[in-house]
């Protein structure tokens, strides 16, 4: 995948900030690649870039418009079609992380042909996979798991990669979703492979390492306790065969994203992850909790994290607020 930079981020008519987590992820980790955001009039989301139209963005050097919306089901709304056509006509390529191919919409396909611009569908795998075998591979692996979708699994993994590298560890972030692919320029959206090949794709994403000490830091997906997405989470867990995992959690959320189910406890997630994960790595263990404490003030956040450490006897942090060094210390302690 070769996306021309810089980017204009299209937020469409997104109803809230969680819906534009693809755009927000790119801004948080690769802000220098972005010239602005484009919001339709009904849009309630904001990733805090300058608002501009595709032609304004082109004038400022933009090369690609990224559809920065991540709705359930990964669908392209009819109401976005004319906006995507407008971007192509303004001279931008368009890249999407949705399940559907951009060219499946005749108006978009025709506009791309007419303007000579490229369409990129990063969520749609450009290769096939084998079924998972569960064979042990060289190297060490960390997987981020969650009590829900959208609780910080990708940010935690990216933070861990950065901190490991800062300490001189040999570590690679492994993207398993469209936003991670936009950020790291590689990876596979495991929720978009055929169901038979989830764990096989995960094995491909995190192949045998050259050395025993190399770390793959694998972005988790969904939750083993989410009624819509647990199959993806389990296949990813088995294929990743993690030595250690970190549980990501959003303490103020009451029900799971998009459904009526209550948020499971961190204990539930730890227990089920170990019960399932030991199939492909008998030594799997939890090393930390990454909580998104955005809704708490600093004292509340520190108290909450201390209470987690005391309850679970694990490193607990908010990666974006307090870093992840406590998790790395725990990994070294366990080794």
């Amino acid at each position: 995948m070769e996306l021309k930079r810089p980017f204009l981020l299209f937020l469409g008519d997104a109803a809230d900030d969680l819906t534009v987590k693809t755009a927000a992820g790119i801004v948080d980790w690769r802000k220098s690649w972005c010239v602005g955001q484009w919001r339709l009039s009904e849009c309630k989301a904001d990733v805090h870039l300058d608002d501009m139209s595709p032609s304004d963005a082109k004038a400022q050097g933009a090369e690609t418009m990224i559809v920065g919306v991540a709705n359930a089901g990964g669908i392209l709304k009819e109401s976005w079609i004319s906006s995507i056509v407008e971007a192509l006509e303004a001279g931008l390529d368009v890249a999407s992380g949705l399940h559907v191919k951009l060219e499946a919409f005749p108006a978009i396909g025709a506009a791309a042909k007419r303007t000579g611009r490229s369409l990129h569908n990063v969520r749609i795998p450009d290769r096939t996979f084998l079924t998972g075998m569960g064979t042990k591979r060289r190297g060490r692996r960390l997987l981020t798991v969650g009590t829900d979708c959208c609780v910080g699994k990708k940010y935690t993994a990216l933070s861990l990669e950065a901190a490991m590298r800062a300490k001189g560890w040999d570590a690679d972030f492994r993207a398993t979703g469209q936003t991670g692919i936009f950020i790291s320029g590689r990876g596979v959206a495991v929720d978009a492979v055929l169901a038979d090949f989830i764990s096989g794709a995960a094995e491909w994403i995190s192949p045998e390492a050259e050395t025993e000490s190399h770390w793959d830091v694998i972005e988790g997906q969904g939750s083993l306790l989410h009624p819509g997405f647990a199959g993806v989470s389990l296949g990813l867990l088995h294929g990743s065969q993690p030595d250690v995992f970190v549980v990501c959690h959003e303490p103020t959320r009451k029900t799971m994203r998009g459904v009526q189910a209550p948020i499971p406890t961190i204990r539930d997630v730890i227990d089920l992850t170990i019960a399932c994960g030991r199939l492909t790595n008998p030594d799997i263990k939890c090393v930390g909790i990454a909580a998104n404490t955005q809704a708490l003030d600093e004292k509340e956040a520190r108290d909450y994290l201390a209470s987690l450490t005391s309850e679970y006897d694990l490193a607990a942090t908010d990666p974006l607020r307090f870093g992840v060094d406590v998790i790395l210390e725990r990994i070294q302690y366990e080794a």
Copy 2:
């Protein structure tokens, strides 16, 4: 899907009988639809029909050749291409339950065009699905689960549907794999939907029933403890929201199909199925064990089943040998 009957079953160069379980399933449940089998010279499998070539089969009235092989990964071997072309040229349609589309092979696509015959890919969904919601639906549901792949989940479900109907229960078999679709003429191969939609597809396969007392008897897939396929099994479990489940087991098998992992115990499968299944049905319970006792003589089989009943306090039977009435009795006792 409208497949013209009768069928010629193509066994290719299958190395053993488990590899042709698609063909064997059609013979066991719909023998009257089949005129013969076609085996290449290296074939070690046999579904005990008359051996014949496509032109012989056509002369005996065959309309469709079914690729009756179910290998890991659902791939079409290069060495079968000329056989499929030969079938088309003999005047047969060709239907496949593999992951790859028949027309993806240029020689096959060209032969179909040249001969005017149809190609059917029953494993490739002809519709899209929503993501799973986990909302409770009216009606009762039974799911067959397994200690491994290929242990009798489909046969047990078909036996249960037949026995329920014989007793006047309102029951429908719900196919979730290609063989079940060939047998029942409907269904979705859940291992071939995009990973994000496994549980959503399972919800579609077993929709809200018209009455509380209606039974959906849902064909299970894989095993929650198989490193290659557990993601499919978990999404199917969540989407099926079964009230009751039956564990299928093959007592003589030592390692899981296609991988090195040991077969889990029936207890492991019951515990993990309940731990995961209660997310979408808090009242989920195990009602029976269906063992494939083919390798045991009658006394050994009866002793083995008695030992299971005593160990697990559950109905235990071999559906094909001793019927499933004991399981229906247990369901009534639990209700």
